[in-house]
């Protein structure tokens, strides 16, 4: 797509990320249809398919029907044997308190909810998450995070509970340390903690438990690391155990964040029961967009399953964001190595299971992991801008423009061969209209505040 085409997506009408106005979409659709028809009629689109406009209500083929069934509805989180508190109500209540607790940060100003804001579908609207400092990546939504086997953009964690511990000790995020986190839990959440997880260690003994300590493998001279190394092994293990329980409580809370059915889910349910009113449940443009999505545009190749993600890692050859941090992010190729060695991995000392097939069979040397990042869920995507792992694109229109042009080459590794251009005669406005139908009501209100 050349500059002229790209400029289409910078029009003010298309930059509006609000709910689709069916009339606006319909007008645009007709204009696009007229352009395509004119191009075909004049023989200008030599290589374009010039396919007739999709009938938004044509009978679904068996394979399309199968795809629809695969995309809806969203199920409750599957059991997690690695966290025996995953579905413990008391653990969830503690996790909820911890999730909104700014005391779990170096400056007392950052909670999980700072970057995962409930009203924004648990994102923050920023290109890079901003905690104590600026994180190197976009904050993804937590909705559906339980549905994939590996967490973070590079999959360096293999459970929600283990993932939750990462930002707590990341310097630009919470900037905290596990020793201080344990002290904070003892001071503010002791009763709830001990009711679920048992007695805390004797943290008041400052000769054994300093105020701050954590392992810092990349900076052995760091005061936190020196304090950590000075602790007895048994005391370090005790603190690690408390830290793991913090993560497990947060996971128990996050598993409660199941959104309600989206318009798309109601549409699929109606299609499945052969309800003739199904077509009235989505705008015309969205129904066409759905057919593009599961058809010629091939979006469903990677955005599949009820959460519209394959949970896998792909190198799209994304442009480097102008505001990107220095250095190159190799993505999954490093994340796959890190998760195999993570102290809080499945099967590790603090895991409640030794049965970890995802980790056991993970191939960290898979060649295409280089420069690959995790496929994000598309549910609620309308509300989770900006997009891509470093917020490269401000709008869905920019994302679709990328897929219709695939400019440049991968910064590291190579663009996956799977990724083919979305044809020019597919109206991205229709795909975006479809994506808007994936917006769900927020989870139950009782989980949206401390």
């Amino acid at each position: 797509m050349g500059p002229t085409a790209r400029s289409r997506w910078t029009r003010p009408a298309l930059r509006n990320r609000g709910s689709p106005d069916p009339q606006v979409l319909s007008r645009r659709t007709h204009r696009r249809g007229a352009r395509t028809a004119a191009a075909c009629g004049l023989g200008l689109a030599v290589l374009a398919s010039c396919a007739p406009r999709l009938d938004p209500d044509a009978p679904w083929s068996a394979s399309e029907f199968a795809l629809l069934r695969s995309l809806s509805p969203v199920a409750a989180p599957a059991p997690n044997a690695g966290n025996r508190f995953a579905d413990d109500p008391a653990a969830a209540a503690l996790g909820q308190a911890l999730f909104f607790d700014k005391g779990l940060s170096a400056n007392g100003q950052v909670a999980c909810a700072t970057c995962h804001q409930p009203a924004r579908r648990f994102t923050d609207g920023l290109r890079h998450a901003r905690g104590v400092g600026e994180a190197p990546a976009n904050a993804p939504t937590l909705l559906g995070a339980h549905s994939v086997p590996f967490l973070f953009r590079d999959g360096r964690k293999d459970s929600l509970w283990s993932q939750a511990l990462g930002p707590l000790e990341a310097e630009p995020e919470h900037g905290f340390d596990r020793m201080a986190a344990a002290h904070h839990v003892a001071a503010r959440h002791r009763q709830a903690y001990e009711a679920t997880f048992g007695p805390l260690p004797p943290l008041q003994d400052s000769t054994r438990f300093p105020a701050h300590a954590r392992p810092v493998p990349l900076d052995r001279g760091h005061p936190h690391d020196r304090a950590w190394q000075a602790m007895a092994h048994v005391d370090r293990a005790a603190v690690d155990r408390v830290f793991a329980h913090i993560g497990k409580a947060i996971e128990a809370y996050e598993r409660k964040l199941v959104p309600g059915p989206a318009p798309f889910d109601r549409y699929v349910a109606a299609v499945l029961r052969a309800d003739p009113a199904a077509a009235t449940l989505l705008p015309t443009a969205a129904r066409r967009g759905l057919r593009h999505f599961i058809g010629a545009a091939q979006c469903v190749t990677c955005h599949n399953g009820p959460w519209f993600t394959d949970g896998a890692f792909h190198n799209l050859g994304l442009p480097r964001a102008a505001h990107a941090p220095s250095g190159i992010d190799v993505g999954r190729s490093l994340g796959a190595q890190r998760v195999k060695e993570d102290a809080f991995r499945c099967g590790g000392l603090h895991s409640d299971t030794k049965d970890c097939p995802e980790l056991r069979f993970l191939n960290p040397r898979f060649a295409d992991f280089l420069g690959a990042f995790k496929t994000p869920s598309l549910r609620n995507v309308e509300t989770t801008a900006p997009y891509m792992h470093t917020g490269q694109f401000a709008t869905l229109a920019e994302v679709l423009a990328f897929y219709q042009s695939l400019p440049g080459t991968a910064e590291v590794g190579h663009r996956e061969l799977t990724l083919s251009l979305v044809a020019q005669d597919i109206d991205p406005v229709e795909i975006i209209a479809f994506l808007h139908t994936l917006t769900s009501p927020l989870p139950d209100a009782r989980w949206l505040h401390p």
Partner: protein, 180 residues
């Protein structure tokens, strides 16, 4: 291969690619009327010179695929429950001598899957264990995308190597039977 096995595979192959077209080894003469219940199906490029892909299977359906290797040295029969996309699954493979039909014990064995159209394989590294002479169990297979895969079984024993490549059309994840 004994007569009973030949009969079974012959009859099952008829489901996917037709009796006459499916065989190189003469077993196409088996009468379809003698077929047992069609719980299993065999589809393989080696058995199906037309190269017709394996018919899509509903997740949970037991499938048996494979046939003679490309060099005609070994014969591979892969048995597994049709997987859901993006879920780990296991495969049992029986490797026999193509000429004598005897099991091939102690082979250097591998099983892999690739998507040639996409230029990649699986994101997992499966583990292989020989359960009995010539009978292997592979765990850790995962087809992370729906579409056209090639499942490759390879064996090396006694200075001989052979490989079989089986097309596998992985359908998208579906909760139940497809009934429009």
């Amino acid at each position: 291969m004994n007569a009973a096995a030949r009969l079974r595979i012959g009859a099952l192959a008829a489901v996917g690619c037709g009796m006459v077209a499916c065989y190189k080894d003469g077993s196409q003469k088996v009468a379809p009327a003698m077929a047992p219940p069609q719980a299993l199906r065999v589809d393989s490029p080696a058995l199906a010179p037309s190269g017709a892909p394996v018919a899509p299977a509903a997740a949970g359906e037991v499938r048996e695929v494979g046939g003679p290797g490309e060099r005609g040295t070994f014969r591979f029969v892969l048995r597994f429950t049709a997987p859901k996309v993006n879920e780990l699954f296991a495969v049992e493979t029986v490797v026999t001598d193509a000429a004598t039909h005897a099991p091939v014990p102690g082979a250097k064995f591998s099983l892999d899957a690739t998507m040639p159209e996409h230029g990649h394989g699986m994101m997992t590294q499966p583990e292989h264990r020989e359960l009995a002479p010539g009978r292997w169990r592979t765990e850790g297979m995962k087809l992370h995308m729906h579409g056209k895969w090639i499942v490759e079984a390879k064996a090396e024993a006694g200075g001989r190597t052979d490989i079989v490549r089986v097309p596998w059309d992985q359908p998208p994840a579906v909760a139940g039977p497809v009934q429009p």
